[in-house]
Symmetry: C3
Subunit: 309 residues, 3 copies
């Protein structure tokens, strides 16, 4: 029981510990139903608007599948054919959509804080699907759920996150949620991609890949955001892979027995992940994709108040 | 009762007075159901094709929501990935779509007369969603319905429409419909944007903004179609706003008590509308957006012959 | 009865003769239901992903209508807003989509063999919607079904296919299927567009249009793929039309009584087809479009194992 149920998700701390665990338990039930092909009709009177102003495949598809699974009416906001080209401001777009009776906005935008800005003009539920370098809370939720499926507890769970800390909105949300849940987080990132901010976080920091992998239960690579990368922060992709690419031998000799490999995707093979490590049995990367749909179904039901299964 | 029910809507005069009023009464009922989240299933065996060859957000979304609300199967014709790039003529596209069994074409095209052209090759219902500078009848219907909601009668209603007459297809449909319904229409437009055609219409014309707003029940700004604007027709947007921008003080001192402000959107703040006037209680701009969905539901039911609620 | 039911369709020979005839008989029943506006709900628990990496209107719309008619959940993979721009490989895209639980991939891609490549990473059903110059089996199926509707038998049916053999994936699938079904196929193609491969096929070849049309039951024009055409293979479109354009007079004097005209579309009027021949009663070009939706419904049901009507 909790006093006030969240209606929006700007970042993971809009949910309390109890709500997260409720979403995880609900996700377990939904996953069984989903894999049996059973649909949920409880939100058939709701309309969701997917407002993706940054390109995205997996997150957008994942939300769309989740909404359709819940029998929602789905409106995809196509930015290229949109009023944005007519200089309509985001404010007026939201006011317009709101007037059409939207119950949920799923928003991705390059400007941090856009989902909070939208709140000013709409009383629909809002889910942040990534705002600049700020946050990507639904990724953190699906990541944590994938860990929960494998370990059934976060207490003392050793999670090492490896890669470009600086340009990752995923890692910022991951750290918050994993801390809330009680895991021990280690960040391993090249010094040039590790801003001072990192020293203020409740994590361990190292630039030594071996140290990060050693005794880890979860080894998570971060995507090199090649298109976002400021130039000159590291010599080359090959050099990056040499020092920070996760290799089979390191994983299999240093990580804990039963350790799992994760990555938010899409992966750059040969950069963050060496060889065929993404295809190994301990790689849960594709489970993460599936759990993305599942946890988004559970989250939307939670926020919009759909009946339990 | 009327002899022949319209099947197509090229412009507002395809409907007779009685049909318009029937659509308005139906819209009132639909609006209640829509806001309660109730769906209408009467057209679940029909397929609508939204053929938007000009960019559009609000009109396209509005039609799509209306069609989905009626449980129609919706096909969005994406022009960029379309056979148009293969030089397939519009004729053959329509013949092709017709063969796939389309019940309704919603068409936006830069060439005036395109919806009538389509009729030659298809017996589906056709709704004009804007053809060049010719007509935009569903906008006129939603505008008039919004007035009807506020004043419950058109007899002697003073409607002043302010802005770029020349480049507006909306205003041409508005004048026809408001005349049919019995309203008194005043047009206020810069002389350089007021073609000779304007003298032949059953309206009052003025270039004096104060005169237009004085004693008006409805003050409607038109969008400056910046992207369509021929150059040199007025000195600057600032100059335009100075002489033709609708300002709070003018509206509140000159217009009738209970007067309302309207605009077909998307608005250019600081051009057609000054300051925060769009956000005032007498602004019905967002009501127009919502009524757009509602009246399009009613119109499609009317044209396709769905059962009454 | 057949030993193993096909699950994928890379090319027509993934189906045996009996399966093709079963699909045709099912198509006849579905066509009646489709034209009455009756829906089929048997696949409402399945999700289809339309992965079109080459532009397409009619094939994409046709598949989408077929999937929606079967009440499937449909995910359109929009390549321009996709992870392809993030250099995600096709492999990882498929793995990702698979994890979201896709039951059917419909794939168009410029690289021959892409659908087979996809099989390696997914156990969903796969339908080839055109892979480079290799194959386009669903077009061949709808073409053959249109012939079956008109002649009720393939035994000794004289089918003449006229046009650019070299750049056509349609003709390659047509030849295989028509041979399986027992028709006699003649190819008429300019010598510069007739590769040596053509000599190895179980067909008659001629470059004389009159000879091809004479005594034909079916005269099928192929689309000049203007955008794919290597330069210099023929003098001009006018010249092409002079020698290979199908003209009313030739058709009406040389082809068999009851002969039909076909074309996979979109047609280039004045190039492959002269004058108004596409609009004559013996032209079945629009029947082909409609049969495209119908046979795709039947095919998807066949591959995914939906219940019979």
């Amino acid at each position: 029981m909790f006093a006030m149920r969240a209606k929006d998700l700007y970042d993971v701390n809009d949910l309390c510990h109890e709500e997260v665990m409720e979403i995880f338990e609900e996700s377990k039930e939904i996953k069984k139903a989903y894999l049996r092909g059973e649909k949920i009709f409880s939100l058939s009177d709701k309309t969701g608007c997917n407002l993706f102003v940054e390109p995205s495949t997996r997150t957008k598809n994942s939300f769309e599948l989740a909404e359709k699974y819940l029998s929602m009416n789905v409106l995809n906001f196509n930015t290229s054919s949109s009023a944005f080209s007519k200089k309509e401001t985001l404010k007026d777009t939201i006011l317009t959509m709101k007037s059409m009776k939207i119950d949920l906005f799923v928003v991705r935008h390059k400007e941090p804080g856009t989902p909070v800005f939208i709140r000013k003009y709409s009383d629909a539920s809002i889910i942040n699907a990534g705002d600049g370098l700020h946050a990507h809370p639904t990724q953190a939720i699906l990541d944590a759920f994938t860990m929960y499926e494998n370990f059934n507890s976060f207490k003392g769970l050793k999670v090492s996150i490896i890669g470009d800390f600086y340009h990752s909105r995923v890692v910022r949300s991951n750290i918050k949620l994993l801390n809330m849940l009680g895991a021990d987080v280690t960040i391993c990132s090249p010094t040039t991609l590790s801003p001072r901010e990192i020293r203020t976080l409740p994590i361990k920091y190292t630039y030594d890949l071996k140290e990060a992998i050693k005794n880890a239960d979860v080894v998570m690579g971060l995507r090199m955001q090649l298109e976002r990368q400021s130039q000159g922060l590291f010599p080359s992709l090959k050099e990056y892979n040499k020092y920070f690419g996760i290799k089979e031998e390191l994983f299999e000799t240093l990580a804990n027995k039963n350790a799992i490999l994760m990555h938010p995707g899409p992966i750059n093979r040969g950069v963050e992940l060496s060889g065929d490590i993404a295809d190994k049995p301990y790689s849960k990367i594709l489970d993460q994709v599936q759990n993305g749909v599942i946890t988004r179904i559970a989250l939307i039901k939670h926020l919009l108040g759909g009946d339990s299964l």
